[in-house]
């Protein structure tokens, strides 16, 4: 094994140096990008690869992006071939079916690095572009039924040829976007970021020499694999299955779609079998295999070693079986725009399966939907067309040692919100409420995190609202006696009076001035028997308006003295005694 010749110091220092390269690529990208989405929300990622296309270092940004990272360099090597690569080349792609991507807005750039005329590795970065064409502004449409409706597909293309920018390729991408100037700025930032990365990677290789660098980077893969295997080996062996559901695919409404996971832990290997999950669907929630792999990678890193470096070595300890043509390994032309919701559900289901093996390490179900609200129209004052897109966070699941977090992005994403005061300056919209939803966290010894209610009011007529969400009919389940959290909803509250519940994937609802849209995001599941929660903690939740007095009595068996805020101890005892402790899930 190559490892034998690599000492612990070299291993650590090269890992550190490569991470530094990946981070500098990411910093440069954020620094030079034009759009808010990349610059402020940091919806981008960067990584370094060996010459075989294995990822050897990734800067920590968005876990979902790992999917495209895993596929892109392999795809370049397969389509172009190592022999054709030249110094100063940059390849660009966003295509899930030929370029290793996971959905079209994520544009990846790959640059080979050389030393002594020899290919030594690659640098890649991914940026989420706000618009790449397709049937709706923002490109991701809740009712897209084929990838051809979701924007321009860029097969692996040479954007830079031996250091020379190919204006034709650049123009091809730009003209396919509704916001070409912004694309131009962001694509140039991606080019600049990779240029920095290639230079830095070549410097690192020069310090070690080509052969030694290859040995040490192979050892880095072994290192992550060893850590992952050691982590899995510490888990008890076992086999467990779990099924969660997507609400529906947004086109065939009301038909829940199973996400089925079987996990087998055996020695130092974990196998994830996704057989039994839904066949691929018409709506845009299909996941290309790389997205599924990224999700499994995320879950196992979180389960066994949050500090294990993110590199391809982790996969060697994981075996994945995802039947082709299913929602978790779709084939073209399946629509994939909103694949992340399905990945979120897959993460919950993996933790659900693992709960039978290591209950103390997992989370109960989280809000696990990237609930998205989009408002568009023509601003009456400025005459400009606007598209305002917001993702609203929800609860994260409780666990064996604590409550879930309220109002957070979970699992595969972690982007920030746009400040209310920033959006109100730009768009004819006011936010009238932004707060936690009382009682939306599943009851439990440890309570699930709360969802959010965010209410928008239209200040003018003719604003179109579109919503994309899930877990609006399938609640976030609890574990070990913990109860489910609340489901989410989109609600239309007309100025003329009356409220109407909209679907979980709804397009182009026209608002008139004074109409309000309330986005209610899902909470999360609780962990353990609610009646084991100390009355003091329940009372604290009541004081903090997280739990209502009624829910405290019903779910937790904790009663307050009427008219006061202190616990009625005798009634609480009776409530807790009168209800069987094992009333189950």
């Amino acid at each position: 094994m190559a490892r034998a010749t690599i000492d612990p110091v070299t291993l650590e220092i090269l890992g550190n140096r490569l991470l530094s390269v990946a981070e500098e690529v990411g910093e440069t990208l954020v620094k030079t990008a034009f759009s808010t989405n990349i610059k402020e929300r940091r919806d981008c990622s960067s990584a370094v690869f060996d010459r075989h296309g294995n990822m050897i270092a990734q800067a920590e940004h968005i876990p979902m992006h790992l999917g495209s990272m895993l596929g892109c360099v392999q795809a370049v090597l397969e389509r172009v071939g190592a022999a054709e690569l030249r110094r100063g080349d940059v390849y660009v792609t966003n295509d899930p079916y030929s370029g290793g991507g996971t959905h079209l807005p994520d544009i990846t750039m790959v640059s080979p690095a050389f030393a002594d005329g020899e290919l030594v590795g690659f640098v890649a970065n991914i940026a989420h572009h706000a618009d790449v064409g397709g049937k709706v502004p923002g490109s991701t449409s809740g009712d897209a039924s084929s990838i051809f409706q979701e924007g321009v597909r860029i097969p692996i293309s040479r954007l830079q040829d031996g250091g020379r920018l190919r204006a034709d390729v650049m123009d091809f991408i730009r003209v396919n976007s509704r916001t070409p100037l912004e694309r131009d700025g962001d694509l140039n930032a991606q080019l600049a970021a990779n240029a920095v990365g290639v230079r830095r990677l070549e410097e690192v290789v020069a310090r070690y020499g080509v052969a030694r660098f290859a040995e040490v980077s192979a050892a880095l893969l072994d290192y992550a694999e060893t850590l992952m295997r050691a982590g899995i080996a510490r888990l008890p062996d076992g086999r467990s299955s779990f099924t969660d559901h997507m609400d529906d695919d947004g086109i065939t409404l009301g038909v829940p779609l199973p996400i089925r996971v079987t996990v087998i832990v055996e020695g130092d290997v974990a196998t994830v079998d996704l057989t039994g999950s839904s066949p691929q669907v018409r709506g845009p929630i299909n996941v290309p295999l790389n997205g599924t792999l990224a999700t499994i990678f995320y879950c196992f890193k979180a389960l066994v070693g949050p500090d294990i470096p993110s590199n391809s070595g982790i996969y060697r300890a994981l075996q994945v079986h995802a039947p082709e043509g299913t929602i978790l390994n779709c084939v073209q032309p399946a629509a994939v725009g909103e694949r992340i919701d399905t990945c979120q559900r897959l993460a919950d289901a993996i933790f659900g399966a693992m709960s039978a093996i290591v209950p103390d390490r997992v989370l109960a179900a989280s809000n696990s939907s990237v609930t998205t609200a989009t408002f568009s129209g023509r601003h009456h004052e400025t005459g400009e067309v606007f598209v305002y897109l917001e993702t609203i966070a929800g609860g994260s699941g409780a666990h064996a040692s604590g409550d879930g977090l309220s109002g957070v992005q979970v699992h595969m994403t972690n982007t920030s919100n746009l400040p209310v005061e920033a959006l109100e300056r730009e768009y004819p919209i006011v936010v009238t409420r932004y707060r936690f939803r009382q009682d939306s966290g599943g009851a439990g010894e440890f309570r699930g995190g709360l969802g959010i209610e965010r209410e928008f009011e239209a200040l003018q007529d003719g604003i179109a609202f579109s919503g994309l969400g899930d877990r609006q009919t399938t609640p976030p389940w609890g574990l070990l006696g913990g109860e489910a959290g609340a489901t989410g909803a989109f609600e239309l509250r007309r100025s003329s009076g009356g409220a109407e519940r909209l679907g979980s994937k709804v397009s182009d609802v026209t608002l008139t001035a004074g109409d309000r849209v309330a986005v209610l995001t899902p909470g999360a599941g609780g962990f353990g028997n609610p009646r084991a929660r100390s009355p003091e903690r329940v009372q604290r939740d009541i004081d903090d308006r997280r739990v209502s007095a009624r829910a405290a009595a019903d779910a937790y068996g904790v009663a307050l003295v009427p008219g006061a805020t202190s616990i009625d101890e005798s009634l609480t005892q009776r409530l807790r005694a009168g209800t069987p402790d094992d009333d189950g899930e």
């Binding site: 612990p8 981070e23 995320y298 040692s401 604590g402 972690n414 400040p419 409420r433 004081d543």
Partner: protein, 690 residues
């Protein structure tokens, strides 16, 4: 002003520095801190130091104070019982924040507990829009009712933060004035008075921190001022701020959040002052102590400032020196992980159990143990022998925890620990320099703190930094910073202005208001007219962008420059920072900023006499490992050094509070004030990055 005193209170020690400008002498004193009541140690220290010098307290012309009271109160959650008042529907914003979770992969990592619980957060029916118009009027009776409720709850402090108050503070001001009247003795702070900038969460978070710290800091500083005065010191205390400046007690107490991370800023200020006379204004400061290292960058004599920093997880939207802290210090623990890599930190042995070599119970190897095993630290002990070191214990720790668990010898393992911790620090230095568009080759590294000078030259070599500066009193360097700071008071207004369509009148009007406020502070601080100045900046961006860049303008340019000139400055700044500009895009201005500066007299640093007679000789020699080989290395003692002395590496220089490592080939020269200026071998030639 002949005598100036600086008192810097740290977690373990309270450092005092007294300068005598006439005699050009500098005296330092150290006492153990008294965290339960920091002023006790201060008073003891002052009495002892003045007694030693037989100096009348009344003779002190200046008293500068650095304190971590605010920082510690945040860490230990000892702030006031605080209530928060927000716009109806937004009471949970403090907890929602940016909706991000604190760790990507650690499923159980909790968010920081809010400083104000939901039960203490109150909503008022009212709403102001971004243009300052009132959509829902505030009802004064609602506020009266709230005031009565707060009085009953016995709150000590109230933060008021209403939406869009940056555009129209009338509602906030009304709430604050009613609450102040109804709650005498409470600390009431409202966001528009503190940070009138758009983006509600950072403004809210800053306001809440201010309220949380207010009562505690008022009590502490008022008591301190009284105690100082009781000692017979007539100089009014000045307090270090996170922006590197200082302010009077009265001004500090109004907005104590400005001291929240003031601790490390004094070192940066001291480094800037010291280096201005030797290596020039381009510096990277490197302060390495027992548990962490603080790194910052100074460009052309001006430390980089950021308004985007977080304190204990909470955004604080006020200008603070941009200091990056990493968990790498002398006490950082090393070990082999399950995958066979050598890891150092962030876990630290701290003061207890301490490094294995301290013999105080530590069994895990630390960076200090590695430095000892490699001969870099004196095997007979540090602090002039006051702190004995146990080489055998250090060797044993490295052997048991690292060498015997890998293919490394003890020596190689020790060298590995240093290499790994240096790699982490190189990464951090790159993040403040290269990642922000600065080339380290244009900078000098200023190393201080107990451990800084042991690592500095190797870091500089790795980063191709040509020169390293080690100040004379590297261990008490921060308290010098208290004597060389200026008064700095930051003010801001937020107005969205498109200069080409709306003209510059709103900008000029804002600057005039800001200048009046700034000058008011300087007047209150009794700064003489000729020592007052202001610095102006506009935060600008391209329309449709959502992040800003500051552009500078001179005070005399107010109403004198046109929109084109200012926008061109923005294009230039954008090109310099981000590598490109978009002159065809419309520019908009977002915030107008003004810093009022009051220049204070600076002490003359004592000069070190030159050498007459016998040349500098090493006191001893010992084997020290550099790279992969050992060489018998001369050891010099700090007290022997004279101005103009030159030392060629390899050498070790031992000072009371720090040890300086000079690798082979590098050269050190002692400057007039006793700093060591180290020039790296090969500096000036085209150095290779890596």
């Amino acid at each position: 002003m002949r005598y100036m005193l600086g008192v810097d209170v740290g977690g373990t020690f309270t450092d005092l520095t007294l300068t005598d400008s006439r005699a050009r002498s500098l005296h330092v004193h150290k006492v153990r801190s008294t965290p339960d009541d920091p002023s006790r140690a201060i008073m003891t220290g002052i009495s002892e130091l003045l007694g030693r010098l037989e100096l009348d307290p009344g003779a002190l012309g200046y008293f500068g104070h650095g304190t971590t009271v605010a920082t510690n109160a945040l860490i230990e959650r000892r702030g006031a019982v605080t209530a928060l008042v927000t716009t109806d529907g937004f009471g949970d914003l403090l907890e929602i924040g940016t909706q991000t979770r604190p760790s990507l992969y650690d499923l159980k990592r909790a968010k920081p507990e809010p400083l104000v619980r939901a039960g203490m957060r109150f909503e008022l029916r009212e709403r102001v829009l971004h243009d300052g118009s009132v959509r829902t009027a505030l009802c004064a009776e609602d506020v009266d009712r709230l005031a009565a409720e707060l009085a009953e709850l016995g709150v000590e402090s109230v933060a008021v933060c209403l939406l869009s108050s940056y555009a129209n503070p009338a509602h906030e001001e009304l709430v604050a004035s009613i609450l102040r009247r109804a709650l005498p003795g409470s600390f009431v702070t409202h966001s528009a008075a503190l940070v009138p900038e758009f983006r509600e969460f950072p403004r809210l978070s800053t306001t809440v921190l201010n309220a949380y710290l207010g009562p505690l800091m008022s009590r502490y500083l008022t008591n301190l001022a009284a105690a100082v005065s009781h000692l017979g010191i007539r100089a009014e205390p000045y307090v270090t701020q996170s922006n590197g400046g200082i302010l009077s007690v009265a001004e500090t107490v109004a907005a104590p959040v400005r001291t929240a991370v003031s601790g490390p800023s004094a070192g940066v200020v001291a480094a800037t002052y010291l280096a201005s006379r030797t290596t020039g204004g381009n510096l990277i400061t490197f302060d390495m102590g027992g548990t962490s290292a603080d790194i910052s960058l100074v460009e052309d004599g001006t430390p980089l400032v950021s308004s985007e920093r977080k304190v204990e997880g909470w955004p604080v939207r006020i200008p603070m020196l941009d200091i990056v802290t990493i968990g790498a210090g002398g006490g950082s623990i090393a070990g082999i992980d399950a995958g066979g890599a050598l890891k150092v930190g962030p876990r630290s042995a701290g003061a207890a159990p301490g490094p294995a070599a301290y013999g105080t119970g530590g069994t895990e190897p630390t960076v200090t143990d590695a430095n000892l095993v490699l001969g870099r630290l004196n095997p007979d002990g540090i602090l002039g022998g006051a702190m004995p070191l146990d080489v055998a214990a250090a060797t044993r720790a490295i052997d048991e925890r690292i060498a015997s668990r890998s293919s490394l010898s003890v020596d190689d393992a020790a060298a590995g620990i240093i290499a790994v911790v240096n790699a982490a620090m190189v990464r951090a230095i790159r993040s403040v320099s290269v990642a922000r568009g600065f080339d380290p080759r244009d900078f000098a590294l200023v190393a201080f703190g107990g451990a800084g000078a042991l690592h500095a030259v190797e870091l500089a070599r790795e980063l191709a930094i040509p020169r390293v500066l080690v100040p004379r009193a590297a261990g008490t360097f921060c308290s010098l910073g208290l004597l060389v700071a200026n008064i700095r008071s930051d003010h801001v207004e937020s107005h969205l202005v498109r200069p080409h369509t709306e003209g510059l009148e709103p900008v000029w009007a804002a600057f005039e208001r800001l200048e009046a406020r700034g000058r008011e502070v300087l007047r209150a601080e009794r700064v003489p007219e000729q020592r007052r100045s202001v610095e102006l900046a506009i935060d600008a961006r391209y329309v449709r962008q959502n992040y800003e860049l500051p552009i500078m303008l001179a005070p005399e340019e107010i109403r004198q420059v046109d929109a084109d000139t200012l926008c061109q400055r923005f294009h230039d700044a954008h090109a310099a920072k981000y590598g490109y500009a978009r002159p065809e895009f419309e520019v908009e201005f977002v915030n107008m900023r003004l810093t009022a500066v009051g220049e204070l007299p600076k002490p003359e640093l004592p000069e070190l006499p030159g050498r007459d007679g016998a040349e500098l000789r090493p006191r001893s020699r010992r084997p020290v490992r550099f790279g992969t080989s050992w060489s018998t290395t001369p050891v010099f003692v700090g007290d022997d050094l004279r101005a103009g002395d030159a030392i060629a590496g390899p050498a070790v220089v031992e000072r009371l509070d720090t040890t300086i490592l000079l690798p082979p080939g590098d050269r050190a020269v002692v400057d007039a004030v006793g700093s060591l200026v180290i020039t790296l071998s090969g500096a000036g030639q085209a150095a290779r990055h890596g």
